[in-house]
Symmetry: D2
Subunit: 299 residues, 4 copies
């Protein structure tokens, strides 16, 4: 057995050094280090296709650049409509703001400010989104499925996550796209009699094919939700993932997918029995900057 | 100020009596009672349209009858593909089983058993699902959107949640339907060259219209996720909800929608500033039987 | 494998019936049922000595009667100074009140109201406590240890938890008694030059002897904390507990005792390897009324 | 309003830089940054006396050096018996080990290994503790209260947390000292007829006097529990704390002290209404290395 070594913080200490020291600690700190090491292996394994699933509203939380960095190594990206809408909001020139969760919500409502925990957004962004879709509506006519539709938004928006996925041809999946501000924009056009036809199932073949044909598979789950579950089910027909890291604040006992430990996936064949995987129970806005700090120093 | 009264449990005490007593307690118990009272008001308010959002995998947890009961008063039902797939699995004669979360997942995999926390399912159910969709594929050809597609499954399955929604014409929405066993079945057919065209956005108009035209709106959120968020966004163009109960084990600090307190919705205009609402932080499989016990005694 | 049966709530349904049905469900509901069944076994096993540990501030939450009922079968009671202080506050005629966690704390402070989440208490209770200890100070002179000191308070207070422990001669342990309103009262007297000498370690022998000499041991942990840990360590020299239920909202991953699953105790020898035990992740003010409802119907 | 800025992780990035960037993010990341800034202010405010409360079993988690660093600025230290016992175990030459929470507890028990989540400890350490107390028993005869007793252990152990408190004359309080391995060692001697008399209340005067006489007060709560509560109650007779940071994974809704937000202390007068304070919901083994990384760069 290897002894626990107490982390010693020094002036000017690098995040990567902290993560390395965490590997000799216990509890959650060690999980951070294990996740960093598994991510490094996944990153360096040329045979491994990386499936990145990002739930929640990571973009308003200030995590866009981290997602962009992770996309450098992702062959598949699955996320929520919320993340994509907030990405688009910034791509068209709007911002999110430092807010306060103790603020009076009634007052915020009067001032036209929407609150996302301790982040604020001006409600007026929806008018800008309207303009974007109104102006570009014709461009979406040719899109058959959600992935094509999202790449098209990326092509038109010219920056951010959607743009990078389009530019680098990273397949991006968002099964619940209707459940988002982007969905609302499409509804607004449809309600106005403007047609479009995006098939709900058509792009499933792509993600399942990638899972099926990959030599090895690695999964990164930020926050669970639909993104995790959609990747998990695409793995059910493969031989299972070889690497996995999951960062969530949910727990197993409620029975939901978001809190289910990766180990549970072994019973389903979604995770290989001898895979390298770890569950990190932590707010991703805290855990990921640390883990990425380590990764940048190593690759 | 009203004094706290200590609950006194008696032999043969009814669940409804316990919930009533909880109204004089503190902490989580009081939240259960507040939720029950708000649900009763919502139930009895003839002007109120009820939006029921159920995330997670409540059906394997043994919550199907409770969902069926809640559907008696729901004008809108939004749920995950997981709940619908597990409902269909039971409708076609298969079961979920008492399991154990400490079981060896590698062994379960060898025996063809999929684990959902402390619930087991035989992997062979997927073959039965295949048969169902193979046999009925033609019936889905006319379905334009997800709601129509789900009602059709309900019509064909003949029992359970999907059937009740079909039979009672309760609009059922599942934006992320592709992310489910049902999605996999459609993929299987599409991969075999069998066509279908389900539009991802087409049924948004229905839910937004109901929200828009209702005199009053009540929301019931079990577990957050896409179901909560999809209802929330449909309310953004209404005057906001008048009643709300949310049962989840998530917390606000992670910034996600599932853990966001209903109060946050006031800033967005999704919840009226003077609405009756309460957040219950509890496993829904524990909280809902209690709350429904109270409701059955009152209505 | 036994199939999951969906709970069906009926009008007038008893809490005990709900708990029984929960035994056929999954997720947290099943844990409630397992805890109830283990508690029933523990209760009926004549050879079993029951160690009840109650953390938190259960008395302000409205749980006094439930604790009193559990004390009918407990041979050892370990709790926090908070529970005992709030019990004494009520014994001397003061109350706790229905409050609101969203209230302005600055305003409450001005009005002399102390907040415990959604429960309020008038700050003036401390003056009543002062009177009690001032009047009775001489009576404590003979107390050597914390258990004797607490029984003496019980004898003098004439009602509530402390009184019942005194009256029924249930050994009551509170290692951190200094950390409480009662502690503050003693400090007030000591600061005024009034002597007392309560030994911090003297009553450990009693609890360890009970653990050592019992034929069988059952543990009930509400909320973890010092009460759990103090019982756990007293078991370290016994053959370990035969029965155990733990109700807490903490989780294992932080590494703390409160969230550690009972299984971890097997490594320490505090829990027998073949013991009947279950961890319930739930607010105790919700879980215990249900479990006790079942128990009252069975014994 | 200030816009959210997305954190950009660079190769060789310092922990302090990450924390600084987190101040422009949302969700938990911003809380880390706010805690770091408040800690820096507290640290630099010459008028402020710092009360450090550390619950849980931070020493087995690898946090000893961090606690030692924080003690450089603490005027008062309150902790659990667990932390002090594990500190003493290392001071007398024993270790904690890298473990695995999925290990078979029955097997560990057979091999004499005690598990603390993912940390292991050899059960044989208790024999070494026995030797230490047997050899030094006489030295404790003069100790009247828990603080004196703990300083004496520190003097004899010659290294670690207890030693530093003794050496630097930092008052160390541990109200529940009986609830720990150290408590068991005292019990063992008492059971053998060897006397000692440590008063349970005697050292309360010291902590309350420090709180009372300080110009300003700052509190650092790691994990809640008795350490938090004992500091909180010592502040009740002061004008309240001017600075506060709390790092815990507990939440408010259960009603316990560990999860109560610092704001609640305003109602009690334990926290000044205009104090600088923040609640960080995170595993302390992850949050504190980051925060200390920032602090070391700033002071």
């Amino acid at each position: 057995m290897m002894p626990i070594k107490h982390i010693k913080i020094k002036k000017g200490m690098k995040a990567g050094e902290i993560v390395e020291s965490m590997g000799d600690m216990g509890f959650g700190a060690r999980k951070i280090s294990e996740a960093a090491v598994i991510l490094e292996k996944m990153w360096k394994d040329k045979d491994c296709k990386v499936f990145l699933g990002v739930a929640g509203a990571m973009v308003p939380g200030g995590m866009k650049e981290i997602i962009l960095d992770l996309l450098d190594r992702a062959e598949v990206f699955v996320t929520t409509g919320a993340n994509l809408t907030h990405d688009l909001i910034e791509a068209i020139g709007e911002s999110h703001f430092i807010g306060n969760e103790k603020e009076n919500d009634e007052r915020l409502n009067k001032e036209g400010i929407d609150r996302i925990y301790n982040v604020f957004m001006k409600n007026v962004v929806y008018e800008k989104l309207e303009d974007f879709f109104e102006k570009n509506w014709k461009a979406f006519q040719g899109c058959r499925n959600i992935r094509e539709f999202l790449w098209k938004i990326g092509e038109l928006s010219g920056k951010g996550i959607l743009w990078k996925c389009y530019e680098k041809k990273i397949p991006i999946f968002c099964p619940a796209i209707a459940d988002s501000g982007i969905g609302l924009m499409v509804w607004g056009r449809l309600a106005g009699g403007k047609k479009i036809n995006i098939d709900a199932y058509d792009d499933m073949k792509e993600i399942i094919d990638i899972a099926w044909t990959a030599k090895k598979r690695g999964v990164i789950y930020i926050g669970g939700g639909t993104p995790k579950n959609f990747i998990q089910q695409s793995l059910q027909f493969s031989k299972g993932a070889d690497y996995g890291i999951q960062i969530t604040t949910d727990h197993a006992d409620g029975g939901g997918s978001s809190g289910a430990p990766l180990k549970e996936g072994v019973s389903w064949g979604k995770m290989k029995k001898n895979a390298s995987f770890v569950d990190v129970n932590c707010d991703a806005t805290i855990a990921l900057p640390l883990i990425l700090g380590y990764l940048k120093d190593k690759v």
